[in-house]
Each structure stands twice: as C-alpha cells, then as structure tokens.
C-alpha cells in the first residue's frame, strides 16, 4: 500500500504550470520556425511521387495515421488542386504555431499543430529525420496537457481555466521519464560504439556533408579535444537519468545538455533540432531551477470552467 502511494505521488505530483508555459512557448516558436524554414521548398518536398510512396508504405503500418494525402484526396472531390491543399496545410501550421506562441485557442492550436506536423512528417516519410519525431513527441504531450497556462491570452483575456489541473504533474513526469529513456539509451549505445572513445565520431559528424559548417583545417588544430568531446557527449547522455533528478546536480546536467544541443545546432546547422531538444529539456527539468517559488494550481475540478 505504501509503495502504491509512493508511486502515485511520484506520477501525480502537485505542480505549477510553469513547465507547460515553457513547452507551449517553445513548441509554438518551433512550429513557426519549422514552417518558415520550409516555406520555399514546401510544395517541392510534399508533392508528387515521393509523398505517394511514403503514404503507401505508411498505410501498411495502419489506416488511421494522418497524412497530407487524406486532405489531398478529400479536396480532389471538390476539385481543389493539390498545390492549394499543400499551401493551406503550410498556412495552418504557421498560424497554429503563432497561436501557440501567444496562447490563443491553446488546445485547438496544439491539436492543429500536432495533426498538421504529423501529416507533413508522415507524408514526407523519407525526408523526415529525428527532429520530426521530437516535434511529434512534444506536440503530443502538449496537446494532452491541461491547457491553458497562466501566461496564455486564453487565461488572461478569455478567463479560461484548465479542466484537469491535477494532471499537470503527471504529464510533466511523463515527459521527464521519456527524456531519461531517450538519453540513457542514446548514451549507452554511443559508449558501445567504436568511434566515440577516440573522438573519430565527433570528427566524422562535423565534417560530413551537409553538417560540415566548420572548416576541417580548424578542427584538425583542435584534434586533441575530439576524444574529450566524444566522451563528454556519452557521459552527458548516459548520465542524464542519474544526475537530472537530484537538485544538486540538476542545474549542471541541464545546462550541460542544453549547451551540447546548442553547440550541435551551431556547429552542424541543426538549429531546429537543437531548439526542440532544448525546449523539451527546459520544460521537463528547467522551471524549478530558474523561477521564483509559485503557488501550485489547486483548482478543484468542479470549480474549473472551460
């Protein structure tokens, strides 16, 4: 019984909505920048045969996974061309990102951003990469979390309140555990890889097109630091679940991981990948470190208004 109580306390801690504010603002910025970054290539990437092949392969996984093909097929019945549908999808994604940033229609915007990004990621298929998975993960949790948060316009102007504020702690805990699993296994697999101990994988990652931002001639001058960088990356990732929970080591670990993602973003031009990782980390473990002590939301469900 005591174990059951402790597990329940761990999974459903009383929590403020600061982390949700960070997640909403961060993912709002991420979705907006994602849409802007692909604006000029959007139609090229998501039209034509590659999309159809990706969607055909996706249909083998399940028939209820959304894709841009759904909207294209639906619009075709109304004689709306594919290009228009793609443009509307891009516009929807951009607007939902902006709406999340300011906190208008939080729940609807989060769902719209999740659906539209998921459609693009799944229809992109072969064009998707890790960043898309992390965006989906973040938007999935954001959509399920008790929105709106106190800094959103929904709260301040429309006087909306979350329906289930007691779930704030739960969804944050899920995000925290998810990140721990991701980093631990990523770090463990790197330790077992042959090229992280001697820095050769850091070298390869930095000189491999299209990530080769830094001139290899400059990197060679710093070659003695490459093994150290490789080991540090492994240490930060595999040590994440062990050092992120303790209040003594949390700050250093969180700053270390965020610095690592920042450096990856700058040195490998993976800005959006870095941003989404920093947002997820800061939302999961950051607010306790940098905020003033706030009163947790203790609304009774019957007192809540939608």
């Amino acid at each position: 019984m005591r174990v059951k109580t402790r597990v329940a306390e761990f999974l459903f801690p009383i929590e403020t909505d600061s982390w949700l504010t960070v997640l909403r603002l961060g993912l709002g910025l991420q979705v907006t920048l994602y849409a802007l970054s692909l604006r000029t290539d959007w139609a090229y990437l998501f039209s034509g045969t590659a999309r159809k092949v990706a969607e055909a392969l996706l249909s083998l996984q399940g028939h209820f996974i959304p894709s841009l093909g759904w909207f294209v097929a639906l619009a075709a019945r109304l004689d709306v061309p594919e290009e228009t549908v793609l443009l509307l999808a891009w516009l929807g994604l951009f607007v939902s990102g902006c709406a999340l940033l300011v906190g208008v229609g939080c729940r609807f915007s989060a769902i719209a951003a999740w659906v539209l990004h998921l459609c693009a990621a799944k229809s992109g298929g072969f064009l998707s990469y890790g960043m898309d998975n992390f965006m989906t993960i973040g938007l999935f949790y954001l959509m399920l979390s008790p929105l709106p948060d106190r800094l959103s316009l929904d709260w301040r102007l429309r006087n909306l309140r979350p329906k289930n504020p007691q779930l704030l702690g739960f969804w944050r805990r899920v995000l925290q555990l998810h990140l721990c699993i991701i980093y631990f296994f990523s770090g463990l697999t790197k330790w077992l890889g042959s090229g992280w101990w001697d820095g050769s994988n850091v070298w390869r990652a930095l000189i491999r097109p299209p990530f080769n931002v830094i001139d290899p001639e400059i990197l060679v001058r710093w070659k003695d630091f490459l093994p150290l960088a490789g080991i540090l990356v492994c240490l930060l990732e595999s040590g994440y679940p062990f050092f992120i929970w303790s209040s003594r080591t949390r700050k250093i670990w969180l700053l270390g991981v965020c610095a690592m993602h920042l450096l990856i973003g700058v040195a490998m031009r993976m800005y959006l990948f870095s941003l989404v990782m920093i947002v997820l980390n800061v939302a999961a473990f950051g607010p306790d470190l940098f905020r003033r002590k706030r009163q947790p939301i203790m609304l009774q469900p019957e007192a809540a208004t939608s």
């Binding site: 604006r39 034509g48 399940g62 992390f134 042959s194 994988n201 390869r204 299209p210």
Partner: protein, 174 residues
Amino acid sequence: MAEGPTILPLSFKNFSHKAQELISIAPAEQLSPSNPVRESVNTYVQLAGIESGSGYFAPNVPSGYTLVFELHYRDGRVEYELPTVRSAAAELRIAGLLDDIGRTPYDELREILLKTLAQSIWRKHPELQSVRAILGSLTLPSVREFEQGKRESYEFLYAYDFSLQNASAKKNDH
C-alpha cells in the same frame, strides 16, 4: 548495434540480432498486418512519435551518400547537376533522403525515389533527352588521413538512366 561496429566482441552481434527480433515482437510486429492489435499499436506509436529510436549518431556516425544528375540534351551536350533545394532546412532533409536511397536493400524503392528526384530535374530542363542519376557513397578521411592530405572521396554505387520514352529506368551497378 546489430549492424555497426562496436567495442563489444563480434559474438555480441548475434545477441543484438536476437534482441532486435525480441523487440520487434513487443510492438506486435509478428502479428499479421491486418490484426487489430498490431494496427492499434502501430498507429499509437506513429501518433506519439515513438515509432523509431533516435540515437543521435549512435553507435557510430554513418557515411553519407551523394547523387549527381548527368543531363543529356538533344543536341548532344552533357551537363552535371546536383539535387538542389532553396533552404538549408530542406537540404538536411534531402541528405536524409539520399541516405535512405543508399541504404535501402530494395531496388524498386531506390529506383522510384531516384525517379522522383529526376522528375524535378526534368521539370527544370524540359528540353532534356535523358537523365542519368549516379549514386555514390561518401568515404570520410580520419583526422590522421586528413593531415596527410587525404580528402573525402566518392565510390560509385549505382546509375539509373531515365528518359521520357521508357517508364522504368535502366540500372547500372558498380
């Protein structure tokens, strides 16, 4: 880990393969594709973004692939062009696509994906007679090799010829 070189003994590779099979049982991969349990699990993992693990270049940083289009004009001219996109964000995605094309064991899939990229070249140059898509793997030098003057090199893998007349491509292997 089942695929790449690790610091573990070679015998561990067999274990990794077995573990991989076990893990694939967990998300109901062994059930028939129409099985509702399998479909539900697959749908959930896709919706939640957890259908594949992200290892951030673990256990090792793989070599990349490169694609060059050889453009054959009706007047006999030959030009070369790389697949181009306008934004840096899309460039990262094209690099990922080339990795998929290079790594897939399915010839048909490789051909379809290359054809898709070739079509965009065709739209840009409608006067072309044919397009040859040449796929190569990229070999990166080590730090020591780089200091000795070695630079990245490309090894020819496949070439596919596309023309407006033939729907399917002619493939040339290395």
